[in-house]
């Protein structure tokens, strides 16, 4: 039956591993993709705005909000005392982060009250009318200030140790010690934070929130309202970017909107202005890394000791796991025979820093790569030589143990680096650059090849679980839902491909639906690059269950063995019979087969004992490498990125087009972090770079002039992940370290490469020029 149709359509439109375009691409360009602010507002929707502290650290002596209350359009002014449940949104349960500050403020810009008004404009105008009297307390915004003034921590530090670092340092032929400052980074998702809360009956409230973590928003809203989680439904169809900035930072806006909505029995929308968003939400952590290394004349590392002190802000937020991950990546791809790494999650009077693509890993890795650079300049060698001399060894060798005692078993870094070394013509270009620099007075060039090895899995082991809900309707159309959120990374597209592949139908048959806590509960943040690994598997599991029931049904009805039932493009093959998928589903429905399933997945193998600093926190590693070539102007410090070549490992790609997009985007974002994106606080502790006018992310004209990006097509995940793919969100971010190091080489040329320039990040034109000046004086 129906063989002719089958002959015509032997393939499906978008199986796994196909370069399908983003599911919303058409809507994006047409302007018809709805973000939360674009949804029609319920009648009578009110709007919220924040009143913020203008002190970095102070006691609140008195608060006169009368002018705010009587301002036109104002319906309610809410303070911490009005929070019906707990005035706390600490994601790790440390009770150190109020929704609205009471009694004391701990950073400049901390929310102290919220205005609810008939319009957003009215709320924003009224919020400026408060009269708050403060008694100032001493404030520390810089890591160095904090270190000199008691070094208070926001959470427990971590130590990773293997071998005897002190003894090995003492015994090393050569040692170097130094310090490096690494700046933070604002996420600058193009869509700022937003929440729309719609009150329901009883305790119920539905919150549309631009969040990467709907379950946590659900819990926090429930916690703040003092109602159980089952009263709160949180939904999100898409975000206009997240990058980690919407993992915990959505809680505040959602909680305020929900509290006001319940109190006033009207829908409340809360969309902070960009300046408020950047002032009141956390960023990538800045670090001060103090390092010491011992090595031999060949550049082989004997020992590394490093302390990673981080600006965490006034509360813990995710600073524990972020600073942990910095330590997990301080080794990057290098074997440290003896090592002792410590973290110092410092409390500062700044906004509480949070997750950001790489989650501390990039800072850890930048510190590790600085050590390589130091050794290379000390020995007068090409840093690539030092890198190769220190790579983790082949599996089974005595050079595979990480500082956290997990062996590196899937190491492909040497192959990646060798391929890129050749394909980019690195060595010849480096020689040409050294010749060029010898002749050029003002313009100098630099080139660097840096690798990436990044551990995949949440280090909070219980986060490595996911759920999906799949319905097949009577007409054969499929409804897909899972706990992951879509922020542009193409997760929804990839998971839909998994499902289309499983059922052998066109992607158009699969309807992708908004993430909601009502369909899939207890989800983890869409973070740690884990989205497709976890949710792809959960959806696959749901499909597996439905397919098993369908196979059993077919075997019984057609009287064949289950082995003779197969899902083939648009059809089910039952013995010799081909039944169109939709017809088959209809028959299954009539026979009362359950056509819906909840899928589940948890990552196997991983475990982590934080107290001991030992375990296998990562399921696998993702690898990559980049070569960057830059030019600098030694009179002004200005620079440009002339060429970048990348070879990156995504295992067997679920969608090469989307993965390539992730690699390119992550690289440029990482380049911004290390070059022009600078966070600057004034002496009052006020962040002065709080909008795109003052905070400069890369433009089209900043991207590499020549940009060659390739995926390592030969790579397959050694672990049985979905389609043997690998996570892609975070790892390529760190490829941009090659830009920083290329700039460093260009600077080093002014002193004939005799000194490591110790170029800190972000390497703004000013930092580059000042490094040039410093080296000229040496």
């Amino acid at each position: 039956m129906d063989k002719s149709a089958f002959e015509e359509r032997k393939t499906i439109s978008a199986p796994m591993h196909a370069s399908l375009r983003h599911d919303s691409a058409h809507k994006h360009v047409a302007g018809s993709a709805d973000y939360i602010d674009d949804m029609p507002e319920p009648e009578g929707t009110l709007h919220a705005a924040l009143g913020m502290s203008d002190r970095a650290h102070a006691e609140i002596v008195s608060m006169d909000l009368s002018a705010v209350r009587t301002a036109p359009g104002v319906v309610w002014v809410m303070t911490g005392a009005d929070v019906p449940g707990h005035n706390d949104i600490s994601p790790t349960g440390r009770h150190d982060e109020p929704v609205l500050a009471e009694g004391r403020v701990e950073f400049h810009g901390q929310p102290v009250f919220a205005v609810i008004a008939e319009s957003r404009e009215a709320a924003r105008k009224a919020a400026r009318l408060a009269k708050i009297e403060y008694r100032d307390l001493p404030h520390w915004t810089e890591v160095t200030d904090t270190l000199e003034n008691g070094a208070t921590l926001v959470t427990d530090p971590l130590t990773l140790s293997r071998g005897d670092a002190d003894a090995a340092l003492a015994a090393s032929p050569r040692t170097i010690s130094g310090e490096m400052r690494i700046g933070g980074q604002d996420h600058f998702y193009l869509e700022g934070h937003i929440a729309l809360a719609i009150p329901g009956e009883d305790d119920d409230v539905t919150v549309w929130s631009s969040t990467q973590h709907p379950s946590e928003v659900q819990h926090m809203v429930g916690h703040a309202l003092g109602v159980p989680s089952n009263a709160v439904t949180v939904q999100v169809r898409r975000m206009g970017g997240g990058f980690g900035g919407k993992e915990t930072q959505s809680n505040q806006f959602a909680a305020i909107a929900a509290i006001a909505a319940k109190k006033l029995k009207r829908a409340v929308k809360f969309r902070p202005d960009r300046d408020e968003d950047m002032t009141t939400t956390g960023k990538r952590h800045d670090f001060l890394v103090a390092y010491e290394t011992g090595f031999d004349e060949e550049g082989r590392i004997q020992a590394v000791k490093a302390n990673y002190a981080a600006r965490c802000g006034f509360s813990s937020d995710l600073s524990g796991p972020v600073t942990d991950r910095a330590l997990f990546h301080a080794d990057n791809a290098y074997f440290y025979p003896n090592v002792r790494l410590t973290s110092q999650p410092l409390k500062t009077n700044t906004v509480s820093n949070t997750a950001f693509r790489g989650f501390g890993g990039p800072q850890g890795m930048v510190g590790g790569e600085r050590i390589i650079e130091e050794i290379a300049y000390a020995l007068g060698k090409d840093p690539l030589e030092i890198r190769k001399a220190n790579f983790y060894g082949e599996p089974g060798s005595d050079r595979v143990l990480t500082p956290y005692h997990q062996p590196v078993e899937d190491n492909i870094v040497a192959r990646i680096v060798d391929e890129l070394d050749h394909s980019s013509d690195y060595k010849a270009r480096r020689r040409a650059i050294i010749d060029f620099n010898a002749k050029s007075r003002v313009i100098r060039k630099g080139i660097a090849l840096t690798p990436v090895k990044f551990g995949i899995s949440f280090t909070a082991t219980w986060y490595n679980q996911a759920g999906a809900l799949v319905h097949v309707y009577q007409d054969g159309s499929i409804h897909l839902n899972h706990g992951g959120t879509e922020m542009g990374q193409g997760l929804f597209t990839k998971v839909a491909q998994v499902l289309a592949d499983a059922f052998q139908v066109d992607i158009a048959t699969v309807k992708i639906t908004a993430t909601t806590t009502a369909k899939v509960p207890n989800t983890s943040a869409t973070a740690a690059s884990s989205g497709s690994d976890l949710n792809g598997m959960a959806a696959f599991d749901a499909a597996r269950q439905i397919k098993e029931r369908l196979v059993a049904f077919a075997a019984e009805k057609w009287g064949v063995s289950p082995d003779d039932v197969a899902f083939v493009p648009h059809h089910v093959r039952i013995g010799e019979t081909l039944v169109p998928f939709a017809d088959f589903i209809k028959q299954a429905y009539m026979a009362r087969v359950q056509l819906s399933a909840a899928g589940f997945y948890k990552t196997p193998k991983i475990h982590w004992d934080r107290a001991k600093g030992m375990g296998s926190p990562f399921y696998y590693f993702a690898y990559g490498a980049a070569v960057s070539e830059v030019s600098i102007d030694t009179l002004t410090g200005e620079y440009q990125v002339d060429r970048v070549d990348i070879l990156h490992d995504v295992g067997r790609s679920l969608n090469p087009a989307i993965d390539k997009g992730q690699v390119e985007g992550a690289f440029v974002q990482g380049m911004g972090w290390l070059t022009t994106e600078e966070l600057w606080w004034d002496d009052k502790g006020r962040l002065r770079t709080h909008a795109p006018s003052t905070y400069k992310i890369p433009l089209a004209s900043d991207r590499p002039k020549i940009f060659n990006v390739r995926l390592a097509e030969w790579s397959e995940n050694a672990e049985p992940t979905i389609g043997r793919s690998k996570a892609v969100g975070e790892p390529p971010f760190m490829l941009a370290i090659s830009v920083l190091e290329a700039l460093s080489m260009a600077v080093a040329s002014v002193a004939d490469y005799r000194h490591c320039p110790r170029l800190d990040a972000p390497a703004t034109p000013e930092r580059v020029l000042m490094a040039v000046e410093r080296l000229r004086g040496m």
Binding site: D34, D37, R274, R441, L635, A691, P698, P765
Partner: protein
């Protein structure tokens, strides 16, 4: 206030008449909240991200031109007699995407998609205006659009790919109605001054420059709005109440550009884009500067008059204009007066503009043929950033290579755009040699005491100012002394 007239415009394919426009209402809020055209996004509300980009068509010297602008800082009252085109207007009636949109889809040019409508509109504007743009043109057209997801590569690739299709070959929404719209807009130009709103919320659109002078005489505290690239932020960020708001962007008299043997007269209302087209003809060395001011949207809105009138110490046009010896014409009901541009800037926050006066035009004398001139801007990010410092250099040498004339002016080094008179003196009469430069550079300390802020430290500003003088010298000797993204030095 007695209401006279109404604001009329075209929005996509609809004729709009407004008789109640809030003085500080933005185009973006009107589109999103009143018209429910939510394709246009708000990413920053300060003109820096481009998510709100729309095209505005207006008559310029009888031509209908469409330019990309930032709807977030464009006030609705400034749109009389214009055609506003939003992303919703691009697809064909049957839903088929416009080639510009389709190219972005085909090249995977969107990830989160929030920036995308803005990119569509910027690329559409470029596509309409430019035949086969190359990478430099594409990048310049995108300087005002931020994308945090893609790294831009696929967006630029899409722009390159679509360049081969030309408007005449497709069903283009703007080309299709061009003749009609042109006729309509000509009819909408105000013949009388438009006034609306009550005290506290008044909009005035003067019929001509004479009417403007009268309005200002009666209301010296009125806020003039030209391109709104400064005023827009007072509204969206500082929530300032402005009353009355007097729009001048439409005044044809302020748009005039007159070339004479002695130089160029530029009306205060001429946009950066138009002004630099003329200025660069006369002084080609200004060309790199225009690529460094704002993004395309800001250059299409912001005016030379506004850049001067606001008195900012970090405006980019005053340093080169002062180095070129420009003079300013101020006008009031009482008449017109002229003064050297440098005298206009008295001190930080204070300018020589009397109540009732407005900036009418600027005269830029043509430099002598063998004058050497350059302007250099330094900023944290090369494009679409405010200057940390901006220096303009002009010298003349005699046959023996001795400096006979030196005029240097910097922004970002003091409370106003200010000449480096001590450095000038140290150069004058000296041979144009490296030794002279090294010695003269020390005199910057006498001219300036710069500040430290988030753009740069005082130390960097001082060091870089000296080094820019060295760059200027080296370039006159033929040395490669700066990087160029857009044009390779010949």
């Amino acid at each position: 206030m007695q209401q006279t007239g109404r604001i009329r415009l075209i929005l996509n394919d609809e004729d709009i008449v407004l008789d109640d426009v809030p003085a500080t209402g933005t185009l973006l809020d009107w589109l999103r909240l009143r018209r429910r055209l939510t394709g246009t996004k708000e990413g920053c509300a300060e003109g820096d991200c481009g998510a709100c980009t729309v095209l505005v068509g207006r008559l310029l010297d009888g031509d209908l031109v469409y330019e990309s602008v930032n709807a977030c800082i464009r006030l609705l009252g400034s749109l009389n007699a214009t055609h506003v085109v939003t992303v919703e207007h691009l697809a064909a009636p049957d839903g088929a995407l416009h080639p510009v949109q389709q190219a972005l889809v085909d090249h995977h040019g969107s990830q989160c998609g929030f920036c995308t409508p803005g990119f569509v509109m910027s690329l559409y504007g470029l596509w309409l205006a430019s035949d086969r743009p190359g990478r430099p043109e594409i990048e310049k057209a995108l300087q005002g659009n931020l994308c945090r997801c893609t790294g831009y590569e696929p967006i630029v690739a899409a722009a390159e790919a679509v360049a081969a299709t030309r408007p005449s070959a497709v069903f283009d929404p703007i080309e299709r109605t061009r003749a009609d719209v042109k006729e309509k807009l000509a009819a909408l130009a105000p013949r009388q001054t438009i006034r609306m709103g009550e005290v506290g919320n008044r909009v005035v659109i003067p019929a001509d420059v004479g009417a403007l002078a009268e309005v200002l005489a009666a209301e010296p505290k009125a806020t003039l709005v030209a391109g709104c690239t400064d005023v827009g932020l007072w509204v969206t960020k500082q929530m300032r109440a402005l009353d009355p708001v007097v729009f001048i962007n439409h005044l044809q008299e302020l748009q005039a550009i007159e070339r004479s043997d002695g130089g160029l007269t530029i009306g205060a209302g001429v946009t950066y884009t138009q002004a630099f087209a003329a200025l660069c003809e006369m002084v080609p060395a200004l060309r790199p500067l225009i690529d460094r001011i704002g993004g395309a949207q800001v250059r299409n809105m912001g005016t030379i008059g506004g850049n001067i009138a606001n008195g900012s110490p970090i405006g980019d046009t005053p340093p080169p204009l002062i180095a070129l010896g420009a003079t300013l014409a101020l006008r009031a009901t009482a008449g017109r007066r002229e003064l050297p541009l440098e005298d206009y800037f008295i001190e930080y926050g204070r300018q020589d503009r009397r109540p009732g006066e407005f900036v009418e035009s600027l005269f830029v004398p043509a430099p002598a043929a063998d004058d050497r001139f350059a302007v250099y801007k330094l900023s944290k990010r090369r494009d679409e950033d405010i200057s940390a410092l901006c220096g303009a250099f002009r010298i003349a040498l005699d046959h023996a290579g001795t400096v006979t004339y030196a005029r240097l002016c910097f922004g970002g080094m003091a409370g106003t755009p200010k000449r480096a008179t001590h450095v000038e003196a140290a150069l004058r009469g000296k041979p144009w040699t490296e030794a002279t430069i090294v010695a003269a550079a020390m005199a910057f300390e006498q001219d300036y005491t710069p500040l430290s802020d988030w753009r740069a430290t005082a130390a960097y500003r001082m060091l870089a100012a000296r080094n820019l003088l060295m760059r200027f010298y080296l370039e006159t000797t033929g040395e490669t002394a700066q990087l160029h993204r857009f044009e390779e030095v010949a």
